[in-house]
Symmetry: C2
Amino acid sequence: MIENVLYGYRGEVRRFLEKHGVKIGDRVRIERRDFVVEGILMPRAALSEKQFIVIKLDNGYNIGVRFTNNTKLVKIAEGEELKKYTPSIKVKYNPELPKVSIISTGGTIASRVDYRTGAVYPALKTEDILEFAPEIMNVANIEAEVLFSIFSENMTPELWSRIAEEVAKKIWEGVDGVVVPHGTDTMSYTAAALAFALRNLPVPVVLVGSQRSSDRPSSDAAMNLYSAVLVAGKAPFAEVTVVMHGETADTYCLVHRGTKVRKMHTSRRDAFRSINDKPLAKVVRDKLVIINNNFILRDKSRELILENKFDGKVALVKTYPGMSGDVIDFLVDKGYHGIVLEGTGLGHAPIYIFESLKRAIEEEIPVVMTSQCLWGRINMNVYSTGRDLLAMGVIPGEDMLPEVALVKLMWVLAKTRNMDEIRKLMLTNIAGEINPRTVFSTYLS
Amino acid sequence: MIENVLYGYRGEVRRFLEKHGVKIGDRVRIERRDFVVEGILMPRAALSEKQFIVIKLDNGYNIGVRFTNNTKLVKIAEGEELKKYTPSIKVKYNPELPKVSIISTGGTIASRVDYRTGAVYPALKTEDILEFAPEIMNVANIEAEVLFSIFSENMTPELWSRIAEEVAKKIWEGVDGVVVPHGTDTMSYTAAALAFALRNLPVPVVLVGSQRSSDRPSSDAAMNLYSAVLVAGKAPFAEVTVVMHGETADTYCLVHRGTKVRKMHTSRRDAFRSINDKPLAKVVRDKLVIINNNFILRDKSRELILENKFDGKVALVKTYPGMSGDVIDFLVDKGYHGIVLEGTGLGHAPIYIFESLKRAIEEEIPVVMTSQCLWGRINMNVYSTGRDLLAMGVIPGEDMLPEVALVKLMWVLAKTRNMDEIRKLMLTNIAGEINPRTVFSTYLS
């Protein structure tokens, strides 16, 4: 994972650092006309157009020093010496506090732990976390491990199974909650997968990520992680949730139900939004404020059941004007086990793919309808297109997000290939993914 | 299009109407304990669970009478006699007002014009419109025609071409604006298509739809149509826009730019939202309030250029965890000319489809990256996944919606198959589809 000695620096700043013969991890002093800082040269995990040099100060904080023409740099010590560096914070066990397990899977939130060795390897171990966000010690005894370190765009159903298994182990060992740091790109897919895989959940499982890596001055990593640990250790609900910023400012975090959440912005810190449901709660500094009273209560005596198999042979197909049925035919020919359509409006597909859909269902490949509108509910009784699709055997996806219907169908198909059972399970609320009534008030808020 | 004599009625109400031997178009009197109404029995184009009988009163308005156990019905006259019925409103030409052409393509907004013959055929002719929303006569001289009558889920790139051609004809004839009633399911796709096809547009082109058909008491059809005619006749901008309700209540309509709008709810009347852009304007009753000053001015002397060819061999592919490259391979094998990816986050795709994407580009099939987040902008320079995709030749879709990138690539491919020219056109703002800077303030509002 060590890419190079000046990871993340480009252009003028990089040439400046190269000229001074420094590398990540070296102790340096930076002098500008107006001020002087001394500390460890940090990598820049997320590239940015802006010309900053990131320095870890002795008090543990990172700062970004803007590079200008009059910036001077003095190398004080080689990075090698830093190997002796150990976190200044010692882990203390507090019997009054809940026990929270942190299982890191990668992503931006985990891409910061590099200041001891100078290398950029995604990892969140116990001491890293406590040094990075020492306030966490006041809310929980934590025990952290790195399960794997991947960008979440490379997540797979097999990896969902492994995460679910690891979470289950910790819960069986008796922790009061589990936090799963994860890349934000597909975090909502994994959240849904864990929600289906962890049946009869006794304690909270919280996915958390960050939109800006922790070596950037504007990082949301520390606040999100702190809030996630607070939810895992103390929330009254035993649900799989996603905890992320509620606004762009560091005012509060939102706790979203894992089957009703989606990344709705490529870069904003408040990118995650509950869709067709209210968030469960808000975390305002060290206070948890319940917003939605419809949840399953935490109960440590409840026996967790692990059902972590997913059938990866399911396709998500978005419909569009002029699309051809040939893609559906291909999926059938290729032996796919199920298809989730992201149709239009109330759950419609173009009439010119009907024959292909009919054939898929005749060959016992379930077809589930969702909507590219995202908000609202499938209702295929309103127009003749929908009624024809229903008559054909297409399963209405109710108010499920397309991605959630996909994960659910993968989970259902790992249990049964019987068309009636599949239909029944897809239409039954299993993990909060189907609301009996459409929640209109949650539109765009 | 005449489905049956009691179109839209089901269950108990249908049996009641059958028992009385009445059909759509008959003149009836309905008596309930509390009141009596007399008028023409109307069809119910949109089915609803609620038990209503829809009656057209002699003053031209439709009302829905709730069916109860004590409802009585008397048949007064056969529908046949209604053939002599003509609208009571005469079209008068007012030289002070602009001339607006209405070209109907179908959808819920057009599914109401049935009261003269009793049949349910989607159509919006001049006299229908004026009787349906007589206020329109105060804002424009209208001239309406039915181009075709289809549910918009069945729209195709060939039909976009025909609509564009028809709109162009009207503009060349000298109208001051064109209104295109359209089904809401794929209205934003057609809006984008017209925005690309109608180059150098001199006057406004307004797509309009409704979420509730006009035979329902809560219909948004009349207000949307009125607002659309107002925009077409009087707005200062010469852009392709979508006009729909701004709130669920009948308070105002929003005017969205055709390349920056999307249906975001399956059923709400305010389903349409501008994404990554502010709406151009608001219509509050008969007042047009400009919200966004960044638009192209109306100028009747400008010479419209019609570029209405679209290459239908383009696929929209949404990525997801565990997806296989085999779908991409299939599209290449099948001779598709272009692929739009709906990737994750800032513009990422799973590493396990990279080989297939590489092959597509090597075979000169352009691949454009957009994001399933919808809001925000593609930035493939931040993480190594994005950088690898860029190096491979994937074209970043900037802040374009996936659907708009699809329509644009269809339009670009009809012009050129040269990879450099395609890239250049895809990265150039042509019809407001790419903002030079990301508009953060428009998130979820």
